[in-house]
Symmetry: C2
Subunit: 341 residues, 2 copies
Amino acid sequence: MSKSSNGRLPRLEDVAELAGVSHQTVSRVINNHPNVSKATREKVEAAIAELGYRRNTAARSLVTRRSQTIGVLASELSQYGPANTLLGVEQAARDAGYFVSIAALRSVGRGAIFDALRHFTDQSVDGIAVLVPHSETLQILEEFNPGVPVVAVGSLGNEAVSGAMVDQKRGAELAVGHLIEQGHRTIGHVAGPGDWIDGALRAEGWRAALKDAGLPQEILHEGDWSAGSGYEIGRRLAADRTATALFVGNDQMALGLLRAFNEAGVRVPDDVSVVGFDDQPESGYFTPPLTTVRQDFEELGRRCMDIMLKEIEAGAAVSSTVVTPVLVRRASTAQPAAGSR
Amino acid sequence: MSKSSNGRLPRLEDVAELAGVSHQTVSRVINNHPNVSKATREKVEAAIAELGYRRNTAARSLVTRRSQTIGVLASELSQYGPANTLLGVEQAARDAGYFVSIAALRSVGRGAIFDALRHFTDQSVDGIAVLVPHSETLQILEEFNPGVPVVAVGSLGNEAVSGAMVDQKRGAELAVGHLIEQGHRTIGHVAGPGDWIDGALRAEGWRAALKDAGLPQEILHEGDWSAGSGYEIGRRLAADRTATALFVGNDQMALGLLRAFNEAGVRVPDDVSVVGFDDQPESGYFTPPLTTVRQDFEELGRRCMDIMLKEIEAGAAVSSTVVTPVLVRRASTAQPAAGSR
DNA sequence: ACAACAATTGTGAGCGCTAACAAATGCAAA
DNA sequence: TTTGCATTTGTTAGCGCTCACAATTGTTGT
């Protein structure tokens, strides 16, 4: 940080003096106003470089009431999905020249969400991305009008709030469709928590796909996304072998399931087929390598920022975008054994 | 956001008017200055509540040159370690009443790091946490004096920069010591990239532990932390079975290794023992469940903020802290088969 | 040449807050 | 009462920037 001779950081006035122009002209240069002559602009730029001038963001946002900052409200950041979505949003925001302020929620509730949103409005953020994958989030967001664009990532949004999401139902249909194609007729689901949007939507997609195919939709277990919960459910499933195939809500629970089956001597895919969801980088190295549904979280983040920027810069209306997931076939699925129903 | 009747957000002056005091008295109340009478304080607080007043952070930080914000400079956020350290730092910062601004580096280099640091000084952050696990980082940080405390997470720091790290060498010794105890005499290492601090330190710890025990330190392969690289190395290792045990730089590479061994018919732990590093939540559900070294990333984040806050608030000197890792014994290690050397 | 207009540059005010100082008040001791 | 001192409150200035407007310059057509 270069200091001017008087020990202070240089400000607009100092640059103006050195360049022999008014402070306002300097302001025009740094804000790329069109009506500045080339000669003046060069003089000013030289002075800026010489002094190592940097604009004071506090002063700027005091008067403009904007801060070139996007607030990201996130929860469950230790999970693969939210963490990578954050990454995607952050990258897209920086590419667009915005800073990112983050607030991680420890618990999801009206109070905590309001606090975080207020914190963002205090900072005069230009937009807010909400990465809170719980169903009640959207409702809560509706009640709070921060005066800047809000994009709810992982939901479709509504009239007041934009949305960016992966088509979870489509993903579930992809997974279940694949199993049906293989010849499976009894396909269970290991769901994520019902109060997560994704969890609910995947379960819905599973149910719909089975219904369309005229198959029963009885076998449903709810986990908490963790490998541990997948393991517990896997033990129960190993004991009650009604299903010949399982669609699991995420790859981590699938890993737990695989572990439980392995311990119980249930072979995958010979005895039971398993499909996961997410396609984490490790999923191809499970035993056996996991067939799963890939969601592109970075793309999701980029789309979120696309929408946000359009709202911020072009004053576009609230809208939404959907990212399509893709089935990744690996070794955890196969045709059901001839003997099974 | 409640607006005053004139359509503007309320400011200090509005509160002062309503409470019948001067704006400075209101300022004293919101900053908890001691010399305010109880009666006045209550009047002011009532006015604040009535108007829904919120302090303008831009105005405040314009004059104070502080922003109640911690900048977190991070890279490799898609990795388990950095992501969870970020989480730890964020939580500790919020607990202490600080906001968190984040900059994710796409590539690690002097230019990118300087840009990010300048961005933080532009924002008048009160402190900077650096989560960039590459060896050259510390050097680069030395050259840039942002004028606020800097804590390099994942390194020991130096005279200019504080550090908070997990004792990687100790962790490596824990892992290797465990294998030696089991009776292994030929212990290989699958290292992370040499330009990562952690990767280098773990390799060093592995070498030191073997040297102390008078054992050879020849078998060393370098991966890139990914399960894929672990798999590739695992295939080579399955073909050349010199080592009876492997210490692997992280759990993901260990997963790849396990997969390769499984495919090649090498049994773990019967034929080869494997120890990982990190203890990710999934590691207990690998096939077989992985013996590994646990690092507590959230604790790391907390310690980082402890140091930072002491520097910010008490003007404490640059210092450093070390978190001790713990060995988690599971099923991937056993005594070497009787026949092996 | 001049007026008419566009392009460029400058001036003054004020965003909302805190720091430094000044003034007013309360209360105990002389 | 009066002085002296601590406690509480008020006043003024200014942080560094952008906005709205005013003033100046350059350019063109007649």
